[in-house]
Structure formats: C-alpha cells, structure tokens
C-alpha cells in the first residue's frame, strides 16, 4: 500500500537532486589542462550517430564541425563559400563538373594523408552509404545527382554530377560532406554511427562518443589548416572538450550559472526568464538564427480533412499573431518570423506583409466559406465544428498560446499529446490536420526535404501538405533554381517560390528558430558557423 508513496517520494528526491544541478560528475582536469564543458539537450533517442554523412541531429553535427573539416567553408556573415581543404575550385559551364584543388600537407588525426584519392574515396563511400541505407542517410540530400569522383592528380579531384545542382558547392561546406579517413567506409553504416573508424582532419580528434551520455574531443597537435572564417587558423586553444546531454532546460541553465558547465546549448531558445538569469549572473547569451526552413505549420489537405479548403488555411495563417507569439514564448526582443525561411538563409525574402496579424480578415474568410460562429465561440458548418487536430509532444511550450489565438476567430485547435509510439506513425497514418517541422541547412533547397515527395524525409507529410498540381509547381520552381549555375535565375526562382508557398497556404510560418547559447564569462572567442553550429577555433577559457 505504501509502494506508491515511497516511489513518488523517491522520484521527488531524485528530481530535487537533479534540479539542484549537482549531477555533473565529470572530474577535474589535470593541472594546466584546459577543458571546455558543453551541455546539450538529450541525444537522438532513435538514431544516435556521430558519422558525419549519416547524422541529421543538429547537436551531433555541431560536434562533428570541430573534428572533421570540409572541402569548403561558408562565411557566417556573407553566406559566401570560401576555401578550406580545397584552396580553389572550378565549376564547368554546364554545372555538371566540380574540380577541387586540395591544400597540401593536410593529414587525418591518425596520420594518414588527406589527398585527392582520399576525397574521391569519400565520394564513393557516400554513394555506397546512400545505397546501403536506402536513401535514409541524411547526407543523401546533399549529393543529389552525384555520380562519382575521379583523381586528376594527387592534389586535384573532380566530382561528376548527372544534372546541374546549384546547391552542391554549398553542400561541400557542410558537416555532412566533411572528409573523413575513407577506411571507415569498409565498416557498416551502423558501426560507423558509434564513432568506430570515424577519423577527421579537424583541429580536435574524436576521443570517444558514448551515445546519449557524452562525447569527448581532444586537441590535435600540428593543425594548421583552419579556414579564413576564424582568426585562429592553427592549433586549438583548448586541450579537451566534453559534451554531455542534459534533459531539463532548468538544470542545463542551472549548470551554467553555477559553473558546472561552460556552455549551455539548448535546442529551443531559452525562456526569457532563463535568459535574464544567465545575464544577471555575468554570463552571456549568444544568438543566431538557424539557417534553413523556419518552424512552419503544414496542413493535411487530403480528402475529408478540414484544411483541404485553402480559405481555411489562409484564415488560420491570418489568425496567428506571430509577433505576440515570439515575444511571449521567447522574450521581448525575439524576432517574429518573416517567411517560410529563416532570415540567415541565402535568397531569403521577407514576407512580413502577407504574414501580418489580421483577425478580421480571418473572420471574413471563414464567414465567406460558410463557417458561422456557434454558441460556444467555435464556428460550425452544417452541424460540423471547426476543430483542427494538432498532435503535439508532451511539454512543448507554445501550442497552448496558438490555441488561444485561433480561438479568437472561432477555430478550435485540438491539442492531442502523442505517445512515443504514436509519434512514429501519426504522419504515415494521416491522423492529423496540422503538424509542424523545420530543417537546418544554409540553403533554401532544404525545403525540398519537407515538401518534395520524391526526396522528403516524411513522404506522407509532403504528399498531404498540398495538392498534386501545387506540388508539381513547387518541384518546377526548385528545378529552375537548382539546375542552373546562373545566380540571377536561382534568385528569381526562389523569390517566386517563397511567395507561392505562402499564397497557397502550403507553409504557415509560426516562429523564427534562433540558436541561443549560454556562454560562461570564463569563455572567450565564441563563434557560430554558417549553419549556427559551434566553432571552437578561437575559443579559449580562463
């Protein structure tokens, strides 16, 4: 009989211990050793992986950036592609051949030479990995059209594409196409995910990756090939970096404030209260918009679902007060979202006018569509209530505010908390009216992996999001933007695409995704990469 009481008491005690922020058990570093401690939110529960080509988890990619270099780098300020492992490159006029001239003297952490053969073997390995994982490897989205690479001379390598792909050069700057010791491709994709055989040429070496527990990087002596995006292009100023995973936001923030960790790196932005706490205790909050697709809502427009009606999608969009949403959930100076893409994405176009808060416009649209206000404030049409089913995961901040905003115009947003099992299947089953997702990549092509059914991560979401003719038009616009090397044409196509997405109510932007990071006062030289990942080249610690 007392079992419940004893258990709950135990749970409470454990919770309090965790809350007090004393859970950090990492030992003190040896004298004179500089160890940086970074606290992330939990590792991927279903696909824990540290292999650059396969992983999509932002936190893992952020770690990879510091132990594996790429052919090129992207300037976070300008979005320009700059040399890194490749000193220079040429793109053939037809856009199908990329020739990279490699820097001399670069080696992997295990001492092997990083030459043209190693790069070409990487390309072969990527293509083989895509086949072995049936296209599930995240890197597949970066090498569309890549047929292989050949060695021209020991320092020159040539990538061949079957069709032009204007985002390929940017792709070579990402962590997913980081160059690793090609010996790793002899292992199975699953083995590589554990970190086995994963050796990069970065300024740190991967010491070990214990999924969901910690990742440790150690300094690499003799590193001299940093890109121009950092002031320090040589050896790291830290000896060791320890990444751990902390589930509770308040505990992670508490760890930073109490000095148990040096950098608190949450997935969702800090609450305004936590941000105040961090700045009050002398630490700083760094912030940068994550490039790529913003946090958008996607409707289920398949037959029988209420959002199949474009007018209701428009009304829904007009009924969202994005400014209030951002300031309430994330703080007074948090920017409102301005379009389907984040502001740091190349070719970004601000559509603030179209996304303005217009409850009267929303009501007019709903009236015209025949939905009349009912007694309890929820609109009805021929006896059916205007209820939109929006599945959520437990403990997410925001949906309840969205619910309250939509209620103002007579739309009832039904929040349904999903079990872990349901989370994996609800999209496929189509048992939703509205869902949300985002995608981080410093290129608008990223949206393809949400909306283009041929390459989308969730085919069901892509197919349900809109009608076949709209999908066709979106694919055409992507093709126009991608299959060219003419900058102007790309820009025009992407501009038209962004307008089209909002006009059709295919993407309903909800909020801009800012990567906020709490940095201890003892840490100097903090920097973001163009993908808003952690860049440790200039980082030092008192």
């Amino acid at each position: 009989m007392k079992r419940f009481a004893a258990l709950t008491a135990g749970l409470t005690a454990a919770g309090l211990l965790a809350l007090s922020g004393c859970g950090d058990g990492s030992g003190t570093a040896a004298a004179g050793q500089k160890t940086l401690k970074v606290s992330y939110w939990p590792d991927n529960p279903t696909f824990s992986c540290i292999d650059p080509f396969q992983v999509y988890w932002i936190e893992s990619r952020s770690i990879i950036r510091n132990f594996a270099d790429s052919l090129t780098d992207q300037d976070p300020k300008t979005g320009k592609i700059v040399p890194w492992l490749a000193e220079k490159w040429e793109i053939s006029p037809d856009g199908k051949t990329y020739t990279f001239h490699l820097r001399d003297g670069v080696t992997f952490a295990n001492g092997k030479k990083l030459d043209a053969q190693a790069v070409a073997d990487n390309a072969t390995g990527w293509i083989a990995t895509v086949k072995a994982t049936n296209g599930a490897a995240y890197g597949a989205s970066y090498i569309q059209g890549l047929t292989g690479a050949k060695v021209v001379d020991p320092r020159t390598v040539e990538f061949d594409l079957s069709a032009p792909n204007s985002s390929f050069l940017q792709a070579t700057s990402t962590t997913n196409l980081a160059i690793t010791d090609p010996a790793e491709f002899q292992l199975t994709p699953a083995e590589r995910c554990t970190g086995k055989g994963v050796v990069g040429s970065g300024l740190f070496a991967l010491d070990h990756y214990s999924a969901k527990v910690e990742t440790v990087l150690t300094k690499r002596a003799g590193y001299t090939w940093g890109s121009e995006t950092s002031a320090n292009r040589g050896e790291a100023k830290l000896d060791k970096v320890v990444f751990n995973y902390v589930a509770e936001d308040s505990v992670r923030t508490g760890n930073l404030v109490s000095g148990a960790t040096d950098i608190a790196w949450p997935r969702n932005p800090f609450s305004p209260q936590d941000e105040q706490l961090i700045t009050k205790s002398g630490d700083t909050v760094e912030s940068r918009s994550l490039p790529g697709v913003a946090y958008n809502l996607y409707a289920n427009t398949s037959a029988g679902h209420v959002l199949a009606d474009a007018a209701i999608r428009q009304a829904l969009s007009k009924a969202i007060d994005r400014k209030t949403y951002a300031t309430t959930i994330y703080g007074a100076d948090y920017p409102a979202v301005q379009g389907p893409f984040e502001t740091t994405t190349p070719y970004f176009r601000s559509l603030s006018d179209k996304l303005a808060y217009d409850p009267d416009g929303a009501k007019k649209l709903l009236d015209a569509a025949g939905w009349v206000a009912g007694a309890d404030g929820v609109r009805t049409k021929s006896g059916k209530k205007l209820i939109i089913d929006y599945p959520i995961t437990a403990g997410s901040a925001g949906p309840e505010l969205l619910q309250a905003q939509l209620k103002q115009v007579g739309i009832e947003l039904g929040l349904r908390t999903l079990t872990t099992a349901q989370q994996a299947t609800y999209l496929k089953e189509g048992s939703y009216d509205l869902t949300s997702t985002y995608f981080t990549r410093a290129d608008p092509g990223a949206l393809q992996f949400i909306l283009n059914p041929e390459v989308a991560n969730s085919k069901a979401l892509a197919i349900n999001a809109t009608t076949p003719d709209v999908t066709k038009r979106i694919q055409e616009l992507f093709a126009e933007a991608l299959q060219t090397t003419d900058e102007k044409r790309t820009e025009r196509a992407y501009a038209e695409l962004q307008d089209y997405l909002v006009d059709q109510g295919v993407t309903i932007p909800l909020f801009e995704r800012l990567q906020k990071v709490g940095v201890s006062a003892e840490v100097h030289g903090f920097a973001f990469t163009s993908e808003s990942f952690l860049k440790l080249n200039d980082v030092t610690k008192d």
Partner: protein
C-alpha cells in the same frame, strides 16, 4: 492500519453516546478540524470551481504573463498570462474525478477478488493470491505507467492505471476480513439454518467485511491523489489547455528559479490536501481506544 479497522468495525455497531463522545474528541483537535475544513473546501471546489474564482482558467493575456502572486492573482500568472489560482481550482474536478474513479475500480475489483478468494479458499484462493502477488511485485508507479502507455493519455486512462495499481491492497484486506468473519458463530448459525452459500456470502459476510475496506479507501485517497499527480506530472494527463495538478507543477518546473510560484503553489495545494487526508486518518487511529 489495524487500529483503523477496529474503529470502523466498532462504528458499525456503535452506540449513540459513544459516538457523541468521540465527536467531542475530534472537536478538541484543531489540526483535525483544519484538515477536515481544507478537505471539505477542495471537495467543494471539485464540484463548483467557478464559485471560488471569477477568472477564466484558459484566457491568455501575454501582457500580464509571469506575474508574481498578488491580490488580483492569488497564485500569480503563468507564461501565457493565465491566472494560476483559477487553473488550480479548475484542475480540481479532473484530479478528484480521477481519484474517485481509481478508488471505485480498486474497491469493486478488490472487494470481488478478496471475497471470492477468502470465501472459497483452497485452489481458488491460491491462484488469485498468486496473481495478486505478481501485481504486488511490480512497483505501483511502474505498473501504472505501463498501463497508461497502453491505454493512451487522458484523465480516464490515468485513473484506470492508478486504480489497478491499488487493487492488490484492497484484495488482501478484504480477504483477511472474510477469513475472520467466515468463522464467526453467526455465519455458522446461518449455514446451520439452511441458508445457501450465495445468501451467506451476500447477506452475512459481505456487509460485515466491507467496512474496513471503506476506511482503507479513505486512507488510499491521498495515495491515489499523489499517484495521479505523478502521472500527470509525467505528461500522461488531460489534453491541454485543461490542467490537472500534476501538469501544472510540471509546466512550472522550468521556471523554478525565476518564477517559483508556478510549481510551488500548485505543489503546496496538493501537498496540503494529502497531508490533511493523512492527518484525518491518523486522528482516527489515535482516538481509537
């Protein structure tokens, strides 16, 4: 536990003067009075929450978000500017309803299993009690978690899960009572008088065994409330924006340092209720001769 059982047993045959004397004993204990008043208040809230607050528990007001407790907002406001006092009160019907459902399930199943097991004895008893043993071997919250994962989220599944978790205690208590009552002379007399087994069971054994179980139900109400709050704390509760007490505590835990009232005041509300129930139960034990 035994003391409480004796109280109940005596209540059933109690005489009026004795009862009055005992009422006097209770009245002289201010702690007991306060506890009873608080429990009565929460029960009243559970049936008519709107009587105790004029504010809409679901109306957001971003401009007034995260206000500390004040006269206008007794418990302060949450991150969306909703009045927390009103949310706690409107959460009462959900939690109290879940507690009642859990207790009814435990009572019916526990009584049934206990009576059948105690009365028939032998193989039936052995089989049923081994099943109960298995249930007892699994930690209650773990059992409740597995059940609620299978049933899905919401108030009713949580109530069912907690109810099933406390069935073994009820079954064991009932069985012990039945074993005791079964051997009493009047049961033998009824048998000797030619009453059928069914009649003996329903007319003589059941009415004389269920008293202690009813008292156990009151004692377990506190345990059930904690269990239900734990499950809704873990996110298995009612769909938003409705909020059970556990959900309210969980929602505020990210703001413990910066907005303490979000978690602590609802937590205090629940803690006081459970303490009151325990205190009432303990008083019953103490005043028993």
């Amino acid at each position: 536990m035994t003391a409480a059982l004796v109280v109940a047993a005596e209540e059933t045959v109690g005489e009026k003067p004795a009862r009055r004397a005992r009422a006097g004993v209770f009245a002289r204990r201010p702690g007991f009075l306060l506890a009873s008043l608080y429990v009565a208040f929460v029960v009243a809230v559970a049936f008519r929450p709107a009587l105790f607050t004029g504010q809409d528990p679901y109306a957001t007001d971003p401009a007034a978000a995260m206000r500390a407790p004040s006269a206008a907002h007794l418990f302060g406001t949450d991150i969306y500017g909703r009045d927390l006092w009103s949310r706690v009160l409107h959460g009462s019907p959900l939690t109290i309803k879940a507690t009642l459902i859990a207790l009814v399930i435990a009572l019916i199943a526990g009584l049934g299993l206990g009576i059948v097991s105690g009365f028939f004895g032998g193989l039936t008893d052995s089989l049923l009690m081994r099943v109960i043993d298995v249930l007892l071997a699994i930690p209650g919250l773990l059992l409740a978690l597995s059940i609620v994962t299978a049933l899905g989220y919401g108030t009713i599944p949580v109530a069912v899960a907690v109810g099933v978790g406390i069935v073994p205690g009820f079954a064991r208590t009932t069985r012990a009572e039945v074993l005791r009552v079964k051997t009493l002379p009047y049961v033998e007399a009824a048998r000797a008088g030619g009453a059928s087994w069914t009649r003996v069971l329903l007319r003589h054994i059941l009415p004389n065994s269920w008293g202690p179980v009813a008292v156990l139900a009151v004692l377990d109400a506190g345990v059930a409330i904690i269990a239900i709050a734990s499950l809704s704390f873990l996110g298995f509760g009612a769909a938003p924006p409705a909020a059970e007490w556990g959900t309210l505590i969980a929602d505020g835990r990210n703001y413990l340092v910066t907005a303490w009232w979000l978690s602590l005041l609802p937590g205090l509300f629940v803690a006081l209720l459970v303490l009151s129930l325990n205190h009432i139960a303990k008083t019953f034990q103490e005043v028993t001769p």
